[in-house]
Symmetry: C2
Subunit: 502 residues, 2 copies
């Protein structure tokens, strides 16, 4: 029997199909820009990407799309997939339509200028160059928050762009516990008599051998880079995909550091496994792709840290490390395990260890929410930043580049993004807790080289669903619980108790 | 003063801008498919390309575009660029609209099936598998010729797709002379006492060193693969570009044959130099890109043969060959020069030497024009093919794969394409004749390593104009003459006289 709304539904599905095509080719054009594009093609590529993004904007916001979505959104007998498709697209369309087109256009232009100013300021180590641009970006995003609308806190409107349904109220709670407990564990680490020798990881490591190690660890975790993906080099490692059968990662190699490329590979491999395991049949509903930034980060960090820095995984990998890099033949496994898990407060987020990483994020979160609300202003940011680093991490930036200028995110107005990184850690530990209930022998299996069990578990519980659920729904479905940082705290305490023997 | 048609003109320019964007991203998606794409992504990529091609179709044929073109085409005070933009787009739109949409769609589907059947037939060495599909393709293209319309010969309508303004009448004339003269030179070659030792080119050549040689020759001819291009590997060498600042070539390397990769590099480098030297300001009129298949082929063959196989260029390159491949230290330059210019009738077009290559093309031309007119039928093709090879080249295919099944072109209905290859040779020699009038010392300069002179000459006379002129107009502008194969015949006679000492 034909349903009375079938025609409208088919039309929306054909719009979703077009959105998919535009997303894939934009993605390809970005990937190519980072990996292959000759230098002088930048201007032309930028224009092409601008065109694609405006076509996408039109598809999502035009009257025909919007009216179809309005007709369909209240129908009660849609399938789960159909309902999620309509809901997601309607939210996207609503949100996009709320920003007046000319303001959005000016924002894009100013954001591009701001990013250039940030690069300039960073290279000259001078926050004052970037300050007027940052003020503009903050101003735009305060306005955006008002356009989007919010119930309690204007920053909620921005959080929602990266983590649907996330609020200051929820984050304040989970981040407060996390911050206090990390500071607590950190003080135990400082008191510990265990002395980890960082120099173990220093040396010269051929890129060729690093690439062999990279493939070795990626084969172990089960990312298919042969038939459904590929590995390339770029300035910063990233994952991109066009559907679930073309999921590409990039890496960055340094000949004095194999550790960085190895863990970047595992991190991106985690993102890539997620995308590769999403069900084929979600694509027609536009539900392919990960749930949110935070859930995506949870998967990359799950592989990078929870699995990748575990004693069992490192025991599995260490013979290969020793085979490739002869200098490790005289290093005990225990020393190698410890140096891979060193905890040491530092200034740069992207280089932070597993314990202190979330503190870097929490500092940014605390600043962003007050900034967007208007409780603090850009001119005071540098002091606030430096003071918080001193308070939480016990280190104080000596210049702007290693302080407030270190991250790209604010330069193009991505306020609300940073929390995803710490959320990834929190989600990850909650998923681990659930996985261990189903597979108490998980770590033993890992040590034996059997990582397929966890890959299948992640597929069945998380990956296959793509964007079918909202982050909080998925978390509830998998763990039966709300967002809670206690599992991550417990995980950190156990890990660093073992490493620092307190 | 604003012109009364300015609004319409601006609108056409913005349509041309969109056409450019769609062409660039389609091009990128094709390039990526040939160079990077993981195996399992084929289906998804095919669908994406289909979508892009249908968007492009709509842009070119929709009523708004068509009406604007009709309004603008008769305006007399357009600039040269504006007039060419309107004329090209109008022709394209007219032509595309002439094929009913359902017939074109069925043709695309059947062509895809036909290509698969051809691959199957080729691998099984059995023309009968391909025959029913080829019959369909011929039938479609006979119909297309009628839809397009023609004055004298139905094949003219198809030639026009690849070489605007070309006709059977013109080709019959230039190909008859060319065929007779090549057969004539070939008989002299056969009588010659010069014995060229083919084995000189055999050996093991590391891919790494082949790539060094490739960069060496590309630097010599002046293709910028560093800032405005790049070199990759693919099954078959090709050139693709997105504007004039991102012009990419690919190559294919065999470790028992450096000659093939060296000349493919120079050939593709010739195409790439053409694209890189087109004026920036033609892009907004959609006049970037080469004039036609034949003119493009003239540039690649100019570099590959007229320059690349000259004694002077080979003298310049030979020390590098000897440095890279030690086995050549005991080979005299004269022997190397001769083996690079060996003439030997063979069965496979793509492996043919400079002298006999055009005969392969002329055989296909003679078959195609009679086939499209209906004077011969697919069932008789195999005998016709084999007899012509015996008559013109003195060799007879022993099976279908080395005979009628060797080329892809007919499988997806590309009748009218083959003549471009021979036209490239004919144009090239006419251009050489003009260049030598301006630069009598051309070959001396080449031997000294100065190839910038010819690059600048090609830019000033040909490349800079992009699609501004039609092939015949450009030829006339550069040489003052019509299409004439006598220059190519004279060039061949001189070349092979020198090599075979007759």
């Amino acid at each position: 029997m034909k349903k009375y709304y079938e025609k409208q539904l088919n039309e929306i599905e054909s719009i979703v199909e077009k959105i998919n095509y535009f997303s894939y080719i934009s993605g390809l054009a970005y990937w190519d820009m980072a990996v292959n594009m000759p230098k002088e093609a930048g201007k032309s590529r930028g224009e092409t990407l601008g065109f694609l993004s405006s076509e996408l904007y039109k598809l999502i916001t035009n009257d025909r799309t919007y009216n179809l979505l309005c007709e369909l959104e209240d129908i009660s007998d849609l399938t789960l997939e159909e309902a999620a498709m309509i809901k997601n697209l309607k939210e996207e369309s609503d949100k996009t339509k709320k920003i007046p087109e000319d303001i959005y256009k000016n924002f894009s232009i100013d954001a591009a200028k701001s990013e250039i100013a940030w690069q300039d300021a960073k290279s000259k180590n001078d926050f004052s160059i970037f300050m007027p641009h940052l003020e503009k970006m903050v101003d735009y995003k305060r306005k955006f928050a008002n356009f989007y609308g919010y119930e309690k806190h204007p920053y909620d409107a921005l959080l929602n762009e990266y983590e649907m349904g996330m609020t200051v109220e929820k984050l304040d709670k989970v981040f407060a516990l996390l911050r206090d407990e990390i500071v607590n564990i950190l003080s135990k680490v400082k008191e510990s008599k265990v002395n980890i020798n960082e120099n173990i990881l220093k040396g010269k490591f051929s890129i060729e051998k690093q690439k062999e190690l990279e493939k070795y660890v990626l084969d172990l975790i089960g990312y298919d880079y042969k038939n459904k993906g590929r590995i390339d080099s770029s300035e910063h490692p990233f994952t991109t995909n066009f559907g679930n059968k073309d999921v590409r990662i990039t890496n960055h190699y340094h000949d004095d550091n194999f550790y960085s490329a190895m863990y970047s590979a595992i991190h991106e491999g985690g993102h890539a496994i997620y995308e590769q395991q999403i069900s084929d049949d979600l694509e027609k509903y536009g539900l392919q792709g990960g749930v949110s930034m935070g859930i995506h980060e949870s998967q990359s960090r799950f592989y990078e840290n929870i699995i990748g820095k575990s004693k069992e995984f490192l025991r599995l990998v260490y013979p290969k490390v020793q085979e490739l890099f002869e200098e490790f033949k005289s290093v005990s496994f225990e020393d190698f395990y410890k140096v891979c898990n060193i905890a040491c407060p530092s200034l740069i987020r992207t280089e932070a260890d597993e314990l202190t990483y979330s503190l870097h994020v929490i500092i940014r979160y605390e600043i962003e929410k007050e900034l967007i609300k208007g409780d603090i202003e850009v001119k005071d940011l540098k002091d606030i930043w430096n003071n918080k680093y001193e308070e939480y991490l016990g280190v104080r930036p000596q210049n702007d580049s290693e302080g407030i200028l270190q991250d790209l995110h604010w330069s193009d107005g991505e306020f609300g993004y940073f929390p995803s990184y710490a959320l990834g850690n929190i989600y990850g530990a909650q998923f681990l807790n659930a996985a261990l209930k189903d597979m108490p022998n998980l770590y033993n299996e890992i040590e034996k080289g059997n990582l397929n069990g966890i890959k299948v578990w992640l597929k069945e519980n998380i990956h296959q669903y793509g964007k079918l659920y909202k982050p909080a729904e998925l978390l509830k479905k998998v763990t039966g619980e709300e967002l809670d940082s206690k599992y991550f705290v417990e995980y950190l305490r156990n890990k660093f108790k073992d490493v620092y023997e307190f």
